[in-house]
């Protein structure tokens, strides 16, 4: 078990290195000039030259790479050319918003996906099953960016029910920044109004972001449940007179949870990708919008920082999934 995790840890480091290596060289496929991106149209030639020297952009690529790796080893992700401050600082500022949104979207995924899947499996081929399957098919095929724009139009503009942008109403005084998660910060400050407000602001973007993975999860849950329900021991349990609900929750769900868990790891990673589009449309100050703006202004140190962070988070999620797997299924022993 221990050596397995050592190996996994090495793997995470290897992935991290691969991510930076790949992004770095992708970023240098085409001769780009981030100096102009940062300084704008009116900048003088001397200023551009000075900027290139300051950020080492005048050096050959391999040298730039070595410098980057050297800094990375000491935890320095370099400076963003667009925001002109440390990428690590930017990530610290923007990641909590993404985390908040992803967690909320993940809850949407779970709360919609699992019950819908179970319902469909128990009512196989009945109206509710068909409804769930059709909705899941639609959810899996709807472009997230359009859904975002459409729901904003319907819920914020036409019905005027939910806020259309941001993490907190402008008239609500933001709670002191402790964790960067507005909801948590509001709780820490015992500011209930801000807490409720932050939840309201989360609803639309979290739903938009979570729907796609909820659709996949519902399908998966349904299929797994169907399979489990047809197993002998369930039939035996039912024959022995164990009440319906107990069968479902004690036996079937427990056994269906393993394949579902595997899927969840992947879905959580997918949420980070979806956040790119959702955050851009909802003015959500997370790393998804940050990386889009950075890529648009050819700010590759920032893009690399984000890919590195997300790559690590992804690897971490996989590790946790494995751990949970071992915990839930005593048959699995890692060696």
């Amino acid at each position: 078990m221990f050596s397995y995790f050592i190996r996994r840890l090495f793997f995470v480091i290897f992935v991290a290195w691969g991510v930076t290596f790949a992004t770095f060289f992708i970023a240098n496929v085409v001769p780009i000039d981030p100096a102009i991106a940062a300084l704008g149209d009116n900048a003088r030639e001397e200023q551009i030259q000075e900027f290139r020297e300051r950020y080492g952009l005048d050096k050959p690529i391999w040298q730039q790479y070595l410098i980057y790796m050297g800094r990375l080893a000491s935890g320095d992700l370099g400076n963003s050319l667009r925001t002109q401050r440390a990428v690590a600082e930017d990530l610290r500022e923007f990641f909590p918003a993404t985390l908040e949104l992803s967690v909320a979207a993940f809850l949407v995924t779970l709360l919609l996906g699992v019950p819908a899947g179970i319902l469909a499996a128990l009512r196989q081929n009945k109206a509710s099953d068909v409804t769930v399957r059709v909705l899941a098919l639609m959810g899996g095929a709807t472009p997230v960016f359009f859904l975002a724009v459409l729901l904003q139009y319907v819920f914020a503009r036409q019905l005027d029910l939910l806020p259309v942008q941001g993490r907190l109403d402008g008239f609500t005084f933001p709670p002191p920044r402790v964790t960067g998660l507005v909801g948590v910060d509001a709780l820490l400050a015992r500011d209930w109004a801000a807490f409720v407000d932050s939840l309201l602001h989360l609803m639309l973007p979290a739903f938009v972001l979570g729907l796609f993975s909820a659709a996949i999860l519902a399908r998966m849950t349904r299929a797994t449940m169907l399979e489990v329900l047809s197993q002998d021991y369930i039939r035996t349990a039912r024959a022995k007179g164990v009440a319906g609900r107990a069968v479902i929750f004690r036996h079937a769900l427990k056994n269906a949870s393993l394949p579902i868990l595997t899927l969840l790891g992947g879905l959580l990673g997918g949420l980070l990708s979806g956040a790119v589009l959702t955050e851009t449309i909802f003015s959500w100050p997370g790393i998804g919008r940050y990386v889009t703006q950075s890529a648009t202004s050819l700010d590759f140190p920032a893009v690399m920082g984000v890919t590195l962070l997300v790559g690590l988070v992804y690897a971490l999620i996989n590790l946790i999934t494995d751990l949970l797997y071992a915990f839930l299924d005593p048959r699995i022993r890692y060696s």
């Binding site: 925001t83 904003q152 259309v164 109403d169 920044r177 409720v196 202004s297």
Partner: protein, 523 residues
């Protein structure tokens, strides 16, 4: 009733949150502030940075309202310009009793510190001081506690220098507070990125990057604002801006589509404003040797191919005005003539005369994003592309990141670009020299247009002090560039704004300055 308002109200009433803000005392201003990178007045050179710092810091002299020609007293109650032996000596008398938000009094020492700071930090706007005003370190002196004297060389224009001093680079910082927070030799640059130390009507309370900037009335300011708080809320999507304004999430929305503006104009709950800018959106054509645009007949064909009226009235729809000459409306030397009318047949004849009877295919570079007047660049490009096709051109549009467009343009590697230009300071020379003088290594250079006549005229005009003569020179110049230059000017964009009808006193000048202290909100 919006769910959020309902729940918020219950929460406030039920739980007695002391932190909810008074709506009439808070102004929320939505727009695309994504270019904000620093709150340091001597470093910031972005539109949004200027918008904020102009309200955090006071300058020695300033413009008021939309008027960009009359200097008014700022921190200096009076000033005079003397002709020294080989320099101009400009003396400012400071008002007594102006206070920074820290409570420190504004003195001559702070004025000197600010000028030296700008020169030492070498921010992106520092060329305004070093090149245009030719200001040197040590040239700013405190004669006494309330008198600052600046010497600039005879070759520089004191008028230009005074107008530069109205920008945020001239925002006087609290030298004591800044030095206390300085790290090494950084003149407090790191600290001022996220903090304010000015005597302006507001102070910076909190900046959540990518989200909002929270300003609060400064307790010690001389200029008492009518509102306690101003919040700049970052919203890039025009549709979201509109919804946010209509549902009361924000009070002012900047960057709306023409349709949204029209709809709001018909709604009594809102008012609309098209604020002037000094920007010009134009096509730049490289006249590099071997380029088809090297022949002025071809450039004329381009100018005759553009259906500018349809572009301005149909697509830009009032979020911009028709203009063909190189000095924008609002500056001396503006020439309202528009001799090029849409005439595709003539364009084809010109092309044939130029030896291109079968037309011309080329690449049109355009940036992704919004191009001024709230219109996506891609839409402008598509319109131009379709117009040019009628005149016998086949333009292949390439929409790339703005930085890529500029890189290609600066490297003289384009055929045609669709870009914009704003002068660095509100003077015709801010356009004339870059667009007409190849030696300035700016726009004329990028388009490889090396023309002795236009360069000479631009030089003459910049040095002319008599307004009438200067106007006449600019008339000659703009006419010459209009007919011979490597440009086709498309329109002068306006800044489209929607405001809640309760907002009063909002004025935005063509330099993008807004004085928040004059804005109030009706209950």
């Amino acid at each position: 009733m919006k769910l959020i308002k309902a729940v918020g109200l219950i929460a406030v009433l039920g739980l007695g949150s002391a932190l909810a803000q008074d709506r009439t005392q808070t102004l929320i201003y939505g727009g695309d502030w994504s270019d904000l990178i620093t709150m340091d007045p001597q470093v910031s050179y972005e539109f949004s940075g200027g918008l904020v710092t102009d309200n955090l810091y006071e300058t020695l002299v300033k413009y008021e309202g939309a008027d960009l020609s009359t200097l008014r007293p700022g921190l200096a109650e009076s000033w005079k310009v003397d002709r020294g032996r080989d320099s101009w000596e400009i003396t400012f008398r400071l008002r007594r009793g102006s206070k920074f938000s820290s409570g420190n009094e504004v003195t001559a020492r702070d004025g000197v510190y600010t000028c030296e700071r700008a020169l030492a930090i070498k921010g992106p706007g520092s060329f305004l001081f070093t090149e245009i005003a030719q200001l040197k370190p040590g040239a700013t002196k405190a004669l006494d506690n309330y008198t600052v004297m600046v010497s600039i060389p005879k070759t520089a224009s004191p008028g230009s220098f005074l107008s530069i001093l109205t920008f945020n680079i001239g925002g006087i910082v609290d030298s004591e507070t800044v030095q206390r927070n300085a790290r090494g030799n950084d003149f407090g640059k790191e600290w001022l990125t996220n903090n304010s130390a000015g005597s302006g009507p507001f102070r910076l309370v909190r900046w959540d990057r990518g989200s909002q900037v929270l300003l609060e009335a400064s307790p010690n300011a001389r200029l008492k604002p009518k509102l306690q708080r101003v919040i700049l809320r970052e919203i890039k999507e025009p549709a979201v801006l509109r919804t946010a304004l209509e549902s009361g999430e924000i009070d002012i929305a900047e960057g709306l589509t023409p349709e949204a503006l029209r709809a709001l104009a018909n709604n009594p709950r809102f008012k609309t404003l098209r604020a002037d800018s000094l920007r010009l959106n134009y096509l730049g054509m490289s006249v590099k040797e071997g380029s088809p645009f090297a022949n002025n007949l071809v450039r004329d064909a381009v100018r005759y191919s553009i259906n500018q009226d349809e572009l301005v009235s149909g697509l830009v729809q009032g979020n911009g005005t028709k203009i063909q000459t190189i000095i924008p409306k609002g500056l001396l030397g503006y020439d309202a003539r528009t001799p090029y009318n849409f005439d595709p047949a003539r364009a084809r004849r010109l092309l044939a005369q130029a030896g291109l009877p079968n037309g011309l295919e080329f690449e049109l570079l355009v940036s992704t994003g919004i191009c001024g007047g709230g219109i996506p660049c891609a839409d402008i490009a598509a319109k131009i592309q379709s117009d040019l096709a009628k005149g016998g051109f086949k333009a292949n549009v390439k929409a790339i990141a703005n930085a890529e467009v500029l890189r290609t343009y600066r490297a003289q590697n384009h055929q045609m670009v669709l870009v914009g230009w704003s002068p660095d300071f509100p003077d015709p020379d801010g356009n004339a020299t870059p667009l007409a003088n190849y030696a300035a290594r700016s726009l004329a250079w990028r388009n490889v247009w090396n023309d002795a006549t236009s360069a000479k005229l631009a030089n003459q005009a910049s040095l002319e002090t008599d307004p009438a003569k200067r106007t006449a020179l600019y008339r000659l110049l703009t006419d010459y560039v209009l007919k011979n230059g490597p440009y086709a000017i498309l329109y002068q964009p306006a800044v489209p704004l929607g405001l809640s009808a309760k907002v009063e006193g909002y004025v935005r000048n063509a330099q993008s300055q807004v004085r928040f202290e004059n804005i109030s909100k009706l209950p």
